[in-house]
C-alpha cells in the first residue's frame, strides 16, 4: 500500500476517479481488505476454478444492500451487517461462502474515521467468516442525496454435492428449529435510535451462520429448509415455508425463545417479536428422524447454543402458520402487512 488518505471527511472528489479517489481506495479499502485479488486493482477479480470446483457442484451467488440507521448499534455496525448478511444468504442455501464484493455509496461529508471503522468491521467480519472481499466499487453522492453510507455486497459460494435445501421441501412431520433468541437485532436498533428512553442492554445478534450450518449439515445432510430470519422476522420465514411447500406450520408460543427485555420493548410499543428483525438467526426445517441430532450439533456450536424446537410442519391448514398461544388459545400468524408501527394506546 503506497498511498495515504489525509482528508478528514469525504468530498465529491473522492468519487471523481482522480487521485483523491485512488488515495481512498488504496488506503482504506485495499489496505484494509488486503488480498492478492483486490490489490491487483483490475476491474474484476479473477478467481481460479481449480480452487473452487473441488468444493462442490454448484455455485451460489447472492447480493444484498445494507441501509441502517444508526450506522453503529450495540453489537455491530453497517459493516458487520453487510458481510454477515451476505455470508448468511449464501450459507442458508447450504453453500460454503468464498468471495464477496463491496460496493460503497458514501454521502459527501461523511467522516473518514467512521468509514475506516466500518471498513475495519467488514475486514474483521470477513476474516471471522473465512471469506475474502475481492472486488469493490466506491461512489460519492452530494450531501442530502444519501444517508451517510449505503453498502452493497454480493457473494459467491460453493454448494457441496448432495445438499438440496429449498423452502418447497417442508413436509408434514418435519420439525421446525431456531438457533436462539429472537428479535434481539430489531430491539437493539430501536434502542440505538434513541427515540425511546429504553433502559436495556440488548445487543444485536449480528453473526455469520455458515459454521453453524456446516455443523447442522454434518448431522443431517438432508436438511429440508433453511432461511435466515432477517427483516420480517421468523413469522415471515415460516409463512414463506408454508406457502412454498403448501403445508401448514404449527408453532408453540411457549417454546419461542424471546428475552425478557425484548418482550418488554414489544409490550410497551405494541410490537410482535415474531416480526422483529434478526441478523444471526435461522429457521430450519428438519426431517423428524434427524431432528435430535441436528439440535445437539447446533447446541455444541457457539451460534446455536440456545437452539430449540419451536414447532412442526402439518398438512393442514395449508399455506398457514398457526400459533398455539402460551395462554391456551390459538391464532394465525400471518405475513406482516406494511411495517410494524407502534400503536397509540
Amino acid at each position: 500500500m503506497s498511498r495515504r488518505l489525509k482528508a478528514a471527511t469525504i468530498t465529491l472528489a473522492h468519487g471523481s476517479g482522480g487521485s483523491a479517489m485512488r488515495d481512498l481506495i488504496e488506503d482504506v479499502m485495499v489496505g484494509s481488505f488486503d488480498n492478492t485479488w483486490l490489490s491487483q486493482l483490475e476491474d474484476q477479480a479473477r478467481l481460479d476454478l481449480k480452487d473452487i470446483t473441488p468444493q462442490g457442484d454448484r455455485l451460489a451467488f447472492t447480493t444484498d444492500s445494507y441501509v441502517v440507521d444508526p450506522l453503529v448499534f450495540p453489537g455491530g455496525d453497517i459493516g458487520t451487517l453487510a458481510v454477515n448478511g451476505t455470508v448468511n444468504d449464501l450459507a442458508v442455501g447450504g453453500a460454503r461462502p468464498l468471495f464477496l464484493s463491496c460496493g460503497l455509496i458514501l454521502e459527501e461529508g461523511l467522516s473518514v474515521e467512521l468509514l475506516r471503522d466500518i471498513v475495519a468491521s467488514m475486514r474483521a467480519a470477513a476474516l471471522d467468516a473465512g471469506v475474502t472481499i475481492v472486488t469493490g466499487d466506491t461512489k460519492v453522492v452530494p450531501r442530502g442525496k444519501g444517508d451517510k453510507v449505503f453498502i452493497n455486497t454480493a457473494g459467491i459460494g460453493v454448494i457441496p454435492a448432495g445438499v438440496n435445501i429449498s423452502a418447497a421441501r417442508a413436509a408434514p412431520g418435519d420439525v421446525v428449529i431456531v438457533n436462539g433468541y429472537l428479535g434481539d437485532h430489531g430491539a437493539a436498533i430501536l434502542k440505538a435510535r434513541g427515540e425511546l428512553a429504553l433502559e436495556t442492554d440488548i445487543q444485536s445478534d449480528c453473526q455469520a451462520l455458515h459454521g453453524l450450518i456446516e455443523a447442522m449439515l454434518a448431522a443431517c445432510p438432508d436438511i429440508h429448509c433453511l432461511r435466515d430470519a432477517t427483516r420480517g422476522g421468523v413469522a415471515t420465514v415460516l409463512n414463506e415455508f408454508a406457502e412454498s411447500a403448501a403445508v401448514g406450520i404449527r408453532v408453540d408460543e411457549q417454546h419461542l425463545p424471546i428475552r425478557g427485555e425484548v418482550r418488554g420493548v414489544c409490550e410497551i410499543l405494541g410490537l410482535d417479536p415474531l416480526y422483529l428483525a434478526n441478523e444471526g438467526k435461522l429457521v430450519a426445517v428438519i426431517p423428524p428422524t434427524h431432528a435430535e441430532a441436528v439440535l445437539q450439533a447446533m447446541r455444541e456450536h457457539p451460534a446455536g447454543r440456545d437452539a430449540v424446537v419451536i414447532g412442526e410442519v402439518v398438512s393442514a391448514p395449508a399455506n398457514r402458520v398457526v400459533m398455539q398461544t402460551q395462554f391456551g388459545g390459538e391464532r394465525i400468524v400471518d405475513r406482516l402487512i406494511g411495517e410494524q408501527l407502534p400503536r397509540i394506546c
Binding site: F327, G329, R331, P342
Partner: protein
C-alpha cells in the same frame, strides 16, 4: 415479567372459562342467539386476538369489537386535512406511528412523507414539543388523536408550550370522547349488545361514574376491564354473572389501576385546555353530537385549525362498507360484503380495517375463525 405474567396464567384461565361455562349452563333465560358482549376498546380487541381468547370461549358468547380504535374511526376528510398541513413546506408534521397508514381520499401521511412532506413519528406529544424547540424556524404540528386515554398528555403538552412560550407549536386536535359514542351505539335501533367490557385506559382518566347511564337508562351491565388475558376473561365472567343474577351495574375489574373517580389532575388538564365540539364526524358511525373536543379560545394560538387554512371537506364513507353494522354486532366482519376482497389491511376501504386494532383488521390478521382454522383463507391473503 413481573405484573404481566401473573395475568397470563393458563391454569387460572382454564378455571375462569369453566366458571363462565357453568354460569351459562345454569342460565335459565331462553336465548335464540349467543350472548353479545362488546369490548369497547381497541386494546381489548387486540389482546383477544393476540392471545387467541376467541376460540377458548364457549360458542354461547360472541365478542363484538367496539368503536374504541381511534385510528379506525378517524374520518377520511380529517386525514386529508392532516396531509394538507403536512405538505406545507414550513411544517414538520408529527404523529403517532399507527396514524401514518390511515388512508385519506388522496393519500395517507406515509404517502405524503414519501412525496416529500416532513412527517415524523413520535411516541409522545412532548417529543413534538421538543422538535419545535429545536426547530424555531419551522412550524411543528402535532396530530392529537385518541380517546380520554391520550387526551391528558396532549393537554399537558399544550400547557407546557404556553408556559415555555413556544409559538411554533400547534395541535391538530382530533381527540374524541367515549361516552357519546357508547350512547350512539345504544340508541341504534338494531343494537343487539347484551353487556359491555368497559375501556380500561379511558376509565383510568374518567373513572367509572360516567358509565352509570348505561346500567340505569339502558339496563345493560358494564365491567371496566384490564388488558391482560385474565383481566378480560374475569370481566366476561363478571358481566355474565350480572346477567345471570338479573343485575345491571357498573363494576370495576381493573381496580388495581382505575379509581372510581378517575384521575383529577388529568381531568383538570383536559378541562382547562379542551371544550366539546358540537358534533364530530366518525368513520363508520356518522356524526355524533358532542363526541369530539377542540382547543378552548384561550389556547387558540396553539390550534392548527385556526393557524392554517384547511380544506375541511367531508368525505362520505364508501357505500359498500358495513362498518356500522359490524360495530353494533349486527354482522360479523367476515359477513361484510367487501371483507377480504376490496377491503384488506393493505387497501382498507372501511374504518375497521385501518388499524391493527380495528375489528376487521384483527379478524383478517389473526385468522377469521381460529376455531376452524382449516377453513379456506380469504383469496386476497398474500
Amino acid at each position: 415479567m413481573k405484573y404481566v405474567d401473573e395475568f397470563r396464567d393458563p391454569d387460572k384461565a382454564r378455571r375462569l372459562i369453566k366458571d363462565i361455562e357453568r354460569l351459562l349452563a345454569r342460565n335459565t333465560t331462553v336465548r335464540h342467539r349467543p350472548l353479545q358482549l362488546m369490548e369497547v376498546c381497541g386494546g381489548h380487541t387486540h389482546a383477544i386476538f393476540k392471545f387467541g381468547l376467541k376460540n377458548m370461549l364457549p360458542d354461547a358468547i360472541e365478542l363484538v369489537h367496539g368503536p374504541g380504535c381511534p385510528v379506525c374511526v378517524l374520518p377520511m376528510g380529517r386525514v386529508d386535512d392532516c396531509v394538507a398541513i403536512a405538505e406545507r413546506p414550513e411544517v414538520i408534521f408529527t404523529t403517532f406511528g399507527d396514524a401514518m397508514r390511515v388512508p385519506g381520499s388522496r393519500k395517507s401521511l406515509m404517502q405524503a412523507k414519501a412525496d416529500g412532506a416532513d412527517v415524523r413519528m413520535v411516541y409522545s406529544p412532548l417529543d413534538a414539543l421538543k422538535i419545535a424547540r429545536e426547530n424555531p424556524d419551522r412550524e411543528v404540528v402535532f396530530f392529537g388523536l385518541g380517546f380520554e386515554t391520550t387526551m391528558p398528555s396532549t393537554a399537558l403538552t399544550v400547557l407546557a408550550a404556553e408556559q415555555q412560550g413556544i409559538n411554533n407549536f400547534s395541535l391538530f386536535c382530533n381527540h374524541i370522547t367515549i361516552i357519546p359514542t357508547i350512547k350512539a351505539i345504544l340508541d341504534s335501533p338494531d343494537m343487539q349488545i347484551d353487556g359491555f367490557l368497559g375501556p380500561g385506559h379511558v376509565s383510568l382518566v374518567i373513572g367509572s361514574q360516567p358509565y352509570r347511564f348505561i346500567a340505569e337508562q339502558y339496563h345493560r351491565p358494564l365491567v371496566i376491564a384490564g388488558f391482560e388475558p385474565l383481566d378480560i376473561l374475569q370481566s366476561i365472567w363478571m358481566v355474565i354473572k350480572q346477567l345471570d343474577e338479573g343485575r345491571c351495574e357498573i363494576e370495576n375489574q381493573y381496580r388495581r389501576l382505575v379509581p372510581e373517580d378517575g384521575n383529577p389532575q388529568a381531568l383538570g388538564a383536559v378541562n382547562e385546555v379542551f371544550e366539546l365540539r358540537e358534533f364530530f364526524e366518525w368513520r363508520g358511525l356518522g356524526s355524533i353530537d358532542h363526541s369530539g373536543v377542540r382547543l378552548r379560545d384561550a389556547y387558540a394560538a396553539f390550534d392548527a385549525e385556526r393557524k392554517f387554512a384547511l380544506p375541511n371537506v367531508r368525505i362520505a364513507d364508501p357505500k359498500a362498507c358495513q362498518c356500522g353494522e359490524v360495530l353494533k354486532g349486527v354482522i360479523k366482519p367476515r359477513e361484510c360484503k367487501v371483507f377480504g376482497t376490496a377491503c384488506t389491511p393493505e387497501t382498507p376501504l372501511g374504518a375497521l380495517m385501518v388499524s391493527s386494532e380495528g375489528a376487521c383488521a384483527a379478524y383478517f390478521q389473526y385468522g377469521a375463525k381460529t376455531r376452524q382454522v382449516d377453513e379456506p383463507a380469504p383469496e386476497t391473503v398474500s
